[in-house]
Amino acid sequence: MTPWGAVWEGLRAETAQLRRSPLLLILAVIQAVTFLLLVSLFGLTGSRAPTAIVDQDGGPAAGRLVADLAEAHRSFSLRNMPAAAADAALRRGDLVAVITIPHGFSAAVQRGDTVALPVAVDNVDADLTDDVQRALPSAIIAFGHQMGFPGIRLQPAERDVLPHDTDFIPYLVVSALALDALVVAGVLAAIAVAREFEAGTARVLALSPMHPLVPLSGRLLATGMVSLAAMGITTALVVLLYHVVPINPAELILGLFACVVIFTCVGAAVGGMIRRILPVTALIFGIALPLYIDSGALEPERFDGDIIWAVAHASPVYYAVGVLEHAFHSLHVTPEPVVVDLLALAGWAAVALVGAWALMRRRMAR
């Protein structure tokens, strides 16, 4: 049998194996979709803090202030509520804050008086409290300018680097594709390799006249193709469900292909190292989350300082996120040009391939 024939037979064997485990395939796709949904949930909590407005004034200035609060950089999701209901909801943890506009507010500000707004804050989480504390002055500035009050000497003037903002969820679901590739391709490849060791067929392969890694490559080719299909489904969901359309489709295809190759090799290396099916899923899943966060998944990683940025370079997910965000949104989320990110991914693929090959060769020799 030629080496290509052995690769083909390995591919056929793994395909047959996967066909006998439809549940595993279904779970792989569910896993991929799960991450999209999860990052969406996380994205929903990034802005628009649920906040009650208790408008005891009802005058035009109060209405203006409520409108300015609603427009204060996506800070608040406002609900008009009576005071008692708002207080109860705040204590239940259903609200982050209750802003009360007191009786006589409109008349007082028209007279030139300064009115204190009582703002009750559930300061259980410092992160949410900070957001509320920072957002209120934004609304108050806008209110002062729109009401045309004299005496305001300064206003911020913003110039954005990019022509439009990218919403948080469209940003997150794109970076989640890299996480998906890591988990799906990594787990399927790791299971395929670990199975050979656990079932003892690795020894049989070692005795064959063909180098044992050749048929194993065929198996990895099969898991890689399944991973590509799962990524195709997930990408289609991003386009159809989230209406996030890639601006550079060729870059997207290259990036996803490189991700599947890299993470298949990484999975193979993990499977060869652990040689047991049971822990590989949890292990890859467990390492995926920190790698994902330290990859520019939430914002450009460079903003998090030198150490975190330097650590991020040790993971292919960093470059993958750089490529995918550019492919979908034309955003530069790494200081390195996208070409460098693509080359780095290609380099990672080569290193992962050689690394997996060397590690498995050593394992099989034992």
């Binding site: 707004l117 300064l154 949890a282 955003l331």
Partner: protein
Amino acid sequence: MMRGILALARLDLALWRRSPWTIVSALVPPLGMAVLLAMLTLSVGRQPVALVVEGNGPEAQSMARVLESDTEAYSLTVTDAATAAGMLHDQTAAAVIVIPPGFDQAVATHQATLDLTLNNVDVDFADDIRRTVSRSAAEFDAPQLGIQGELAGPSQGVLLPNPYRVAVAELPLRQTNVDFMRYQVLPALVLLVLSVGLMGTALLSARDVEQGTARVLVLSPQPAWRLVAGRFAGGVAVCLVVLVPILVIATLLRVIAPPVEHWPALLAVFVATALCAAGLGAALGAWIRRARVVAMAASIVATYLFFLGGGFTTIAFLPGWLRAISAAVPIRYAIDGMRQCLFYPDLRGVGTDLLVLGVTAVVAVMVGSLTVRRAWAS
């Protein structure tokens, strides 16, 4: 009666001890979550911003002091315009704030601007910077709109007039803020219980069926329900073996510090969560019956329960339909109950949380028992 149950529980504990990879499988996801939280703690809140002070009068210096003093919001680098542009380009700064030349004269004519150039690559951090810069600008004309003013000004009865004619009297609901890390460490503990209970019991159940030991169990003189009870007792015991040392360490390090009288409720929530997880795990393992698939299925189930239950997300922020789904997720009651025990002065709602967890545990144990017995019988 108890001997039979304890014998199987001991057997499961022994199996765990002899299966280091099973322990690793259950521990890695919560450990990954803990690392993730640590990384998020480093990255939330402060954004790297370059400040260029081109005005040289006292008003410009005053504005610069306002910005420099807000160390909670900015990681500020004071530099010149060219360097700031370079920092924006190479992403060492997310934004550049310029106090322009002629600032003092512009202030005198009420025409001053604080110029912000922002890398608006995504709205989440871009809005954080917009809010923060707005607050700094407001503080220039109205010092009480700064953080100290919000906390110690009008709320303490000291109201200074300002040109915006609005001030903020902040009334915190509780005495101290809980920092992000401490707030999120609790869901990581819940994930630990969930992962160990669900995955551990699922793997043991699947292995019984896959390796045929279920047939041996069925032939034992013990009634089936005792064997099933032993499996749950083993699952809960394993959870507690893993959880208790971590709770002790977290308590000693003051990462968790509930009022003394809240401890029994907190422990009850943990035990009820472990029982729910063990019941679900037993059902899942006996249903799927194959260890290699069980690990992935358990990961997915644990992930959904955890995220929809409010681990890592704040349920109040979610749309109504998701909040409705979340209300049917038992882990939400575990997380709510634990937060109430740890961060709130009273135990309001913990009774309901325990009731929901208890009912879920009973249902999970019943479903788990039926599935396990059916799997053993077949």
